[in-house]
């Protein structure tokens, strides 16, 4: 309907989809024919069309996670032909369009796979482990109403920009899914980097990195072996440099923690 869109002709593909009824049940691949697709359709819209057909037949539709469909909420989480978020760099599954595929392609669709992300159903996994890491230290403690004027603390533009680069993380978990060790280092380092680069984040800088890393380890995420598949899979192209930055922060914080004098102050008073 839109004039300037690439007008190639419609395509048909075979989907090889991971179907798994529940966490504790075995899964398997099932083939579905997706026919006569407009190439300007998004990958998720293609799944909508397939599901429409399944539902019309009274069959259980393919469960997949999605929400904003514009690459910002981090809900969508498919591995397409072995790649988290599909064939293109720097975008999420929901921003992948059928024009990226050829007529007759067989497309393998799987959920993100990692031990800390158990599969709930079909293509949906549980990523609440990321929330648990955030809860361990991914914040600056400020009670509403206690902040000083926003311009009282200048932030050099370069550092604000770098913090923003890290803060763009959409928490999708593609970094974990792409890593052979299921490491969450890119995710955690993005949080640590974002808050640690800002003057407002200094008071809790040490406790933040120590607590978040401890929680990450506790939840069963693996170690980083510097292959940087995480950055390559990241829909926001967050740089692996943040991992190096976090490692430096972690070492410094560990030393300071070990030698820090502790106050004996106790509560109470007049």
């Amino acid at each position: 309907m839109v004039a300037h869109l690439t007008s190639t002709k419609n395509l048909s593909v075979t989907l090889r989809v991971w179907r798994q009824p529940a966490t504790d049940q075995p899964g398997r691949f099932v083939d579905y024919a997706a026919k006569d697709l407009n190439p300007n359709m998004s990958f998720l819209e293609m799944l909508d069309v397939v599901n429409y057909g399944l539902e019309a037949k009274g069959e259980d539709p393919i469960a997949f996670a999605h929400d904003c469909r514009e690459g910002i909420c981090g809900t969508c989480s498919l591995v397409i032909n072995g790649k988290p978020h599909g064939p293109h760099k720097g975008i999420a599954t929901c921003q992948t369009y059928m024009r990226s595929f050829a007529d007759g392609d067989v497309i393998v669709v799987e959920p993100f796979r990692a031990k800390p992300f158990p599969i709930l159903k079909d293509l949906i996994c549980n990523r609440s482990a990321f929330d648990a890491i955030q809860q361990a230290g991914g914040f600056i403690t400020v009670r509403a109403g206690s902040a000083c004027d926003a311009n009282a603390i200048p932030v050099p533009k370069d550092e604000a920009d770098l913090a923003m680069d890290a803060a763009q993380c959409i928490g999708c978990g593609a970094c974990v899914a792409a890593c052979k060790n299921a490491s969450a280092m890119l995710f955690v380092s993005a949080k640590v980097g974002h808050l640690g680069l800002l003057p407002q984040g200094q008071a809790e800088r040490d406790s933040r990195v120590l607590n978040m890393v401890a929680k990450m380890d506790e939840l069963g995420f693996g170690n980083c072996t510097n292959q940087y598949e995480c950055s390559a899979a990241c829909p926001k192209l967050i740089s692996q440099d943040f991992i190096a930055r976090m490692n430096r922060d972690y070492i410094a914080a560990s030393f300071r923690q070990a030698f820090k004098p502790k106050s004996n102050a106790s509560g109470g008073g007049a």
């Binding site: 529940a22 904003c68 909420c73 914040f139 400020v142 803060a167 763009q168 407002q200």
Partner: protein, 661 residues
């Protein structure tokens, strides 16, 4: 008939909030921990209120249907957040932000609420900067601003094109801190399916666990809904696919009034519809109108030509022409309608003729020359200017241009974007008083879910402001006024009959849906509803169309309840069932919206009745008969709801013809 006591404090407008804060009741710290507040939703309003109330010492449970509170749809807001900081020294003030918002809402919002919003706007920026929100900054390290529609000052703070994301992550980080410290109990993947009312007061909710299908009861001393807007009633909108009206709708059915449901915002700059399969529309931020110029060909004969082949003199920059003082930054309703008029005249572009150009060529030249001058480059080639200009535009709007490219396969650096209006926000919502409490005592409604601040049209960059204002700076004070009157420990037990009845209600609804086993998928009905709503209750509405809409929706409802097919089981993760429960509520809401639009016999803001317009096509308001809030009260299934009225008394601003010319 519901009692609508707005509880607006007396006294001069500018003193009302300060005075109210000193007048309302407080809850002492030892008692705060005895009260349990359930917050439904964790977008800006939900997360900020849950964290603030927990920090005050209340027991808080936060319930979200997403797998993580960080997914709430506030995250998709792009352009920015307004605040009357006047950091630009360009004449901004609390009064001016208040006035712009009131005027922007076409004099259909409450003065007192809007003034309070403008007052606390400055605190929001302080709070968010302290939370580590990486706002855009100038080279000196201070905060940067940009301009937004409906204002003649630069008061919009932003974080690239991802302001909503960064603010939400800020609020989410506060919420996460509280969850980690055990002061907020977080319940994810649970959808609020009913409100529990005990002795006329909101005392709990029933949720459905979306993974196990189990129904859960939560007893509370007060319930906060921060569940967002209902634009998905149109099926195609800029909302996330999961955004829904269910929590608000179930509260409505338990007695909470639904105010101005027909007030819908149609955002002018979205990527046009491309096909029947489409699941959502994507917004191109209003911030683009800082630099983009909107035009259509002057001559109908040119609409199919490539834009580059249309001479400058044959282009109609219609917003600049019709609204010279605001130009491309005319408010959303005004800009949307103007674009529609151009397309109705046959001057729309693109294959469907439903599109206008948003052109950055001039901005690229301007920024390119500035960058060359800053770099001390003289006699630079045109190609170099273009390169520098494109880089400067990329720094401001790069992610938006990328999104545009992904969707349309076109580069907006090389040719103008094509845009068209789309459903983006709902100003209507559950009725609340000055304390943000609905007419059901104990039920508070925050953010987009309430109706209070934007009147008939919301200005850009004001939704984020309202969400955080309500959550960080209003509810922490006003909830105390209600709770102080509740005896500590008087919270009803979840074993009471009212909880059992509400749970049985939800169970019945689920069973009924699962048992139909008809022919059509849920999406069939959602698409049909969306088409009815867009055609009859969209950008232009008529008496005949709205009557037709009501009849069509009633027929659709009947068909839905006899022919929908929800496969699978209700005892596990079932996305078809989730959708069915939501669409069932949207169908009923759609009818109410048409009814509201039908009975509001005037045009104002986003509500445009073709029968009521000035000769130039602008809204013709009727302040004598319609300067009021219409708050609809449920009267029973398939019964016509009751239209209650809250008069709008303007004490400070004079209601006048809204002009941006």
């Amino acid at each position: 008939m519901a009692i609508l006591d707005s509880k607006i404090p007396s006294g001069p407008l500018a003193d009302k909030w300060r005075k109210h804060k000193t007048d309302i009741k407080l809850v002492n710290p030892a008692n705060k921990r005895k009260y349990h507040v359930v917050v439904v939703g964790a977008g800006l309003a939900g997360a900020s209120s849950a964290a603030s109330l927990a920090d005050l010492g209340y027991q808080v449970t936060c319930i979200v249907f997403h797998d993580s509170p960080r997914r709430a749809h506030s995250i998709a807001a792009q352009g920015g957040i307004n605040a009357a900081k006047n950091y630009q020294n360009d004449g901004d003030s609390v009064y001016r932000l208040f006035y712009d918002t009131i005027k922007g809402g076409d004099y259909r919002a409450r003065e007192s609420n809007v003034h309070r919003l403008a007052e606390v706007s400055v605190n929001i920026i302080d709070q968010c900067a302290a939370l580590g929100v990486p706002f855009a900054r100038e080279y000196g390290g201070l905060l940067a601003n940009r301009s937004f529609g409906g204002a003649q000052v630069s008061r919009t703070f932003y974080a690239r094109g991802q302001t909503g994301q960064q603010l939400l992550l800020g609020a989410y980080s506060s919420l996460s801190r509280c969850v980690g410290q055990g002061t907020v109990k977080l319940v994810t993947q649970n959808e609020m399916s009913d409100l529990v009312v005990v002795d006329g007061q909101a005392k709990g909710v029933i949720t459905r666990d979306l993974v196990t299908g189990k129904l859960n009861r939560f007893a509370a001393d007060a319930v906060i809904l921060a569940t967002g807007g209902y634009g998905n009633v149109f099926n195609l909108s800029t909302y996330a696919r999961g955004s829904n009206v269910t929590a608000s709708w179930r509260a409505y059915k338990r007695g909470a009034c639904f105010a101005n449901p027909c007030f819908t915002q149609i955002h002018p700059t979205c990527i046009p519809v491309s096909g029947d399969y489409q699941s959502k529309l994507t917004l191109m931020s209003e911030s683009l109108r800082n630099d983009g110029r909107i035009w259509v060909p002057k001559n109908k004969a040119d609409v199919k030509k490539a834009p580059a082949d249309i001479a400058e003199s044959d282009r109609d920059y219609f917003l600049e022409r019709i609204y010279p003082s605001f130009g491309n930054l005319a408010p959303r309703d005004v800009a949307s309608r103007a674009a529609k008029r151009m397309c109705d005249e046959g001057r729309g572009v693109g294959e469907t003729g439903l599109g206008v150009y948003l052109d950055f060529a001039e901005a690229i030249q301007r920024y390119g020359k500035q960058a060359a001058a800053r770099a001390n480059l003289h006699d630079v080639s045109a190609a170099k200017v273009l390169e520098l200009g494109e880089a400067a535009v990329a720094e401001r709007y790069g992610n938006l241009f990328d999104i545009y490219k992904e969707i349309t396969d076109e580069s907006a650096y090389k040719q103008p974007m094509r845009i068209y209006p789309a459903v983006h926000y709902t100003m209507g919502g559950l009725w609340v008083d000055y304390n943000l409490m609905s007419n059901v005592p104990g039920l508070f409604v925050l953010g987009e879910a309430n109706f209070s601040d934007h009147g008939a049209n919301r200005l850009g960059a004001s939704a984020l402001m309202q969400g955080l204002a309500d959550g960080f700076f209003v509810i922490p004070y006003t909830i105390g006024d209600y709770l102080a009157a509740q005896k500590p420990g008087s919270r009803p037990s979840a074993d009471r009959a009212e909880f059992a009845a509400a749970e049985a209600n939800v169970e019945g609804l689920v069973k009924k849906l699962m048992a139909i086993k008809g022919k059509e998928p849920v999406a069939f009905y959602h698409k049909k509803l969306g088409k009815i709503m867009w055609n009859q209750c969209g950008m232009a509405r008529t008496k005949e169309g709205l009557n037709q809409g009501i009849a069509d929706i009633q027929a659709l409802k009947k068909d839905f309840w006899s022919n929908v097919n929800v496969p699978g089981s209700a005892e596990n993760l079932n996305q078809a069932l989730e959708k069915a429960l939501r669409v069932a509520d949207f169908i009923e809401l759609g009818e109410l919206m048409c009814r509201d639009a039908l009975t509001r016999e005037e045009s104002c803001g986003g509500h445009f009745r073709e029968e009521y317009q000035h000769a130039d096509g602008e809204c013709l308001r009727d302040d004598v008969n319609f300067a009021h809030v219409a708050a609809w009260e449920f009267q029973g299934e398939d019964k016509v709801p009751l239209r209650n009225i809250e008069p709008l008394n303007y004490e400070t601003v004079k209601m006048s013809m809204r002009s941006y010319k």
